[in-house]
């Protein structure tokens, strides 16, 4: 089996649940256009309908068919995306990551100030920040797409757009052009791609 790339997205219940879900769906959809085999799934064990609770969303990409089905979590994420920056203070978001991973945070704070909250930052090869709230300022709150429902409000209208733009630039796993076919807010996505700040760690 070819290597499966695991991407874990951290969001907060209710206030950012939909945006987090959009990030995984957009990312997987764009990767699919590039011929990748993909899986994107919402949290299974967290509590997304409690306000502010940390929740996870997952993407898997591979060049071949992904064989591990019925496993609802990424044990070894190589990319971790944090949609609400305070989460890094209260949880070990890098749990399971092998050395050389990537962390992307939605914040307007400096990379160095964020690193102070990450005791195991030695696992990271790359850390990046994008001010998605500064770019779009929109957080869609909508439950229509959770628990197996059909998402009626469109994907990538809010902070998810600049975040996926930043993910494309930092990870190089997907092309910006394909993202543009999926997100509603294309200019927000382009700004995320352009304005993401990246720091390589030793």
């Amino acid at each position: 089996m070819a290597k499966v790339h695991e991407i874990t997205v951290w969001a907060r219940g209710v206030i950012m649940d939909k945006e987090g879900r959009d990030v995984i769906n957009i990312f997987a959809e764009a990767a699919k256009m590039e011929g990748k085999h993909v899986q994107a799934f919402d949290n299974y064990e967290d509590l997304p309908d409690r306000v502010l609770v940390t929740v996870r969303k997952y993407v898997r990409l591979s060049d071949e068919e992904i064989e591990h089905k019925y496993v609802y979590g990424n044990d070894q994420p190589e990319v971790v995306v944090v949609i609400e920056a305070t989460i890094v203070k209260g949880i070990d978001v890098l749990l399971g990551m092998k050395k050389g991973g990537t962390l992307i945070i939605n914040t307007n704070r400096s990379i160095d100030s964020m690193l102070k909250f990450i005791p195991n930052a030695n696992l990271l090869a790359t850390i990046a920040t994008v001010d998605a709230d500064g770019i779009t300022g929109v957080r869609t709150i909508d439950f229509s797409g959770s628990e197996g429902g059909v998402d009626t409000s469109g994907i990538g209208k809010g902070i998810a757009a600049p975040i996926v733009g930043a993910m494309a630039k930092v990870t190089g796993m997907i092309k910006k052009e394909n993202l543009a076919k999926v997100v509603s807010d294309v200019s927000g996505m382009e700004r995320g791609y352009k304005e993401v700040k990246i720091k390589k760690l030793g």
Partner: protein, 117 residues
């Protein structure tokens, strides 16, 4: 224990099968370490002791009992481990003594967990 219950006759529950109402659970003395919610916070309430009148409205309105009145010192104490940053106390305080401050402005005060509970 044999007991006469109107409409049911006499019921007999062997001693070893008897539990008090609500079953047996340990009463929380002060805190429940298995339910730490400090990492739910994006902001925390910060108190201005000059403005605080000790009216105890924050104590009454906090859903998680995170405000304690320290009688001897005549001061309200905030319980950081369990405050989830819902901001109800900030909205309810009649004296404007509480302000929401981003949690990332403080170096500590949040219990770091391995994974969400």
């Amino acid at each position: 224990m044999a007991k006469e219950l109107p409409g049911y006759g006499t019921i007999n529950v062997p001693k070893e099968r008897q539990v008090p109402f609500g079953a047996v659970t340990k009463a929380p003395v002060c805190t429940q370490q298995l339910f730490i919610t400090s990492n739910w916070r994006v902001v925390r309430p910060v108190k201005d002791d000059e403005k605080c009148t000790r009216c105890l409205i924050c104590y009454m309105s906090c859903p998680d009992a995170c405000w304690i009145f320290k009688e001897e010192e005549d001061v309200m104490e905030w319980v950081s481990d369990f405050c989830k940053g819902c901001q109800i106390c900030i909205n309810e305080c009649p004296s404007d003594a509480l302000t929401a401050v981003p949690e990332l402005d403080f170096p500590d005060g949040v219990v770091r967990l391995d994974k969400p509970f």
